[in-house]
Amino acid sequence: MATTVNAANASSRPHHTLWGDAWVRLRRNKLAMAGGIFIIILALAAIFAPLITPYGFARQDLTAILQNPSSKHWLGTDGLGRDVFARLLYGARTSLAVGIFTQVIVLGIGLPIGAIAGYAGGRVDNVLMRFVDVMYSFPDILLIILIKAILGGGIYQLFFAIGLVAWVDIARLVRGQMMSVKSRDFVAAARAMGGMGPYITERHLLPNSLGPIIVSVTFNVPRAIFTEAALSFIGIGVRPPTPSWGSMISDGYAVIFASWYQVFFPALAIALLMIAFTFLGDGLRDALDPKLRH
């Protein structure tokens, strides 16, 4: 009866949970996994930076300023003779933190508001959307600058300022998704079968809206890192000497006519991180897309 047993087991395969199933298919997506692994490795490298590089991120060697890459300093040194590679590693800490924590704040605020507005519709939607409108009507950078100017320097203020401004887009996106998904019939069916709001939201609406949300989040992580760069550029980024890729780029920008390395390496780092998040995001989207499940 062996075959029978196999058949029975095998035929029970498609009955995973949404997430379990997604994980199975994510694992099969090589690019996505590559992206994820890169991010993890980067995170580890950031955490264990002291074990990887002998240089501290603030250690100056005024006799070796703006040096090109060499065996001593793999990626050269900056305007105060600090090892760029070391600063990149330590900078990854800040930049990843900025990228991820701001998104946590963004999702924390944007997802529920968007979901509620989109699902409930009617008056609730109206009220929430007016609130969103107000937030939304602020020019981002100005609001960030104002908040930052009030709160003063420091990385937490940075998360707060960026996150507090960036959640609106997600909220709108989620709402839009909710509204279009809601009108599809399987949700109607679920409703007909007497599914409760939260249940429907969790089981049908969210999974079906996840694609675009994830795309936008994976895009916003590097974007937050950019915002940080822009803020560093206008001089209100993280507090030196703590490096962040953004601040390294803007520091590098100041001396771009002396040494383009100063901009190139952090920019490259951001690009790689961005690509990693892109692949991971696409992978997640496909993995989580209900229409792709058999």
Binding site: S137, F138, L173, G176, P212, I275
Partner: protein, 305 residues
């Protein structure tokens, strides 16, 4: 429909009011005032200035006066450029910022949608990879870096474009590109995602079952549906482009209000801050409204009520 628009416009005014109040409050919470200088002004001078700008009055009186001013279409006098009115300054700067933002928006849309569609329709082919790479790389370079790179390549090396300033079309190209890069990439990604999504829809299969030409299926059935999410982000993107040209304007020395308003915050130019914020808020709200209308136009499921 008209009722919807009217109601939305009224809402908009309310929103602007709230925005103005929040900004006004934040602004006064920010440490440091317009008169603090490295070489301190004499107390008499500061007193005179406060008197001239009504800063000696209580907070709410100041706000009330500000609102009254607006009713008379008067945003007050700049604190930095003390012989020019805020309205004057905005009117001189805005057209430039608007043109720049719009050009960048058009770039971003054309490039973004083209790349996105191409990538989706040729999923997992070299076209797809090229498009993804292109958009990723462009999105991975901060505006100011891209700006100076363009400048070095196209001005210093190739002598194609002037490094900055305003006036001739040639002076818009580089800033517009620098400004459009990130949104273009973003739109490309959204388009790709939603096109892939749409291509899997049953109605596309139905369309094919009617034996329609691929082109017809693509344009009538796929494109239009896959643009819905794009439109949702288009509005924010447009607003972001018009209001987000701060750095690009700085690098390409464009006499727009983008450059002005960060300076305004740093200079604590209360008049200019309020002016720019309200101005920008207005632009954003309008873009927002337009998008909601468009959204309804391309997606009949959305009802205005």
């Amino acid at each position: 429909m008209t009722r919807f628009v009217i109601r939305r416009v009224l809402w908009m005014l309310l929103v602007l009011l709230v925005v103005s109040f929040i900004t006004f409050t934040l602004m006064h919470l920010v440490p440091g005032g317009p008169w603090s200088r490295e070489k301190a002004l004499a107390p008499a001078v500061v007193a005179a200035l406060n008197a001239r700008y009504g800063l000696d009055k209580p907070f709410f009186v100041q706000y009330a006066n500000f609102l009254l001013g607006i009713l008379h279409g008067n945003l007050g006098i700049s604190y930095t450029y003390q012989d020019r009115s805020v309205t004057q300054i905005l009117m001189q700067g805005f057209p430039k910022t608007a043109i720049l933002g719009t050009t960048a928006f058009v770039f971003a849309m054309i490039v973004g949608i083209s790349l996105g569609m191409a990538a989706a329709l040729r999923q997992n082919t070299w076209i797809d990879y090229v498009c993804v790479m292109f958009s990723t790389i462009f999105a991975s370079v901060p505006g100011f870096v891209l700006g100076i790179l363009l400048m070095i390549v196209f001005s210093v090396v190739l002598h194609w474009f002037p490094t900055g300033g305003w006036g001739s079309p040639s002076q818009i190209v580089m800033p517009a590109i620098a400004l459009a890069a990130l949104p273009a990439a973003f739109i490309a990604r959204i388009t790709r995602a939603s096109t892939l999504e749409t291509m899997r829809q049953d109605y596309v299969r139905t369309a094919r079952s009617k034996g329609l030409l691929e082109r017809v299926v693509l344009i009538r059935h796929i494109l239009r549906n896959s643009l819905i999410p794009v439109v949702t982000v288009a509005g924010p993107q447009f607003a972001a482009l018009v209001t987000g040209s701060v750095i690009v304007e700085t690098i390409f020395s464009i006499p727009g209000i983008g450059r002005l308003f960060v300076q305004a915050v740093f200079a604590r130019d209360y008049g200019l801050i309020m002016g720019t914020v309200l101005f920008y808020s207005f632009v954003i709200s309008v873009a927002n409204l337009v998008v909601d209308i468009l959204y309804g136009v391309i997606d009949p499921r959305i009802r205005y009520d």
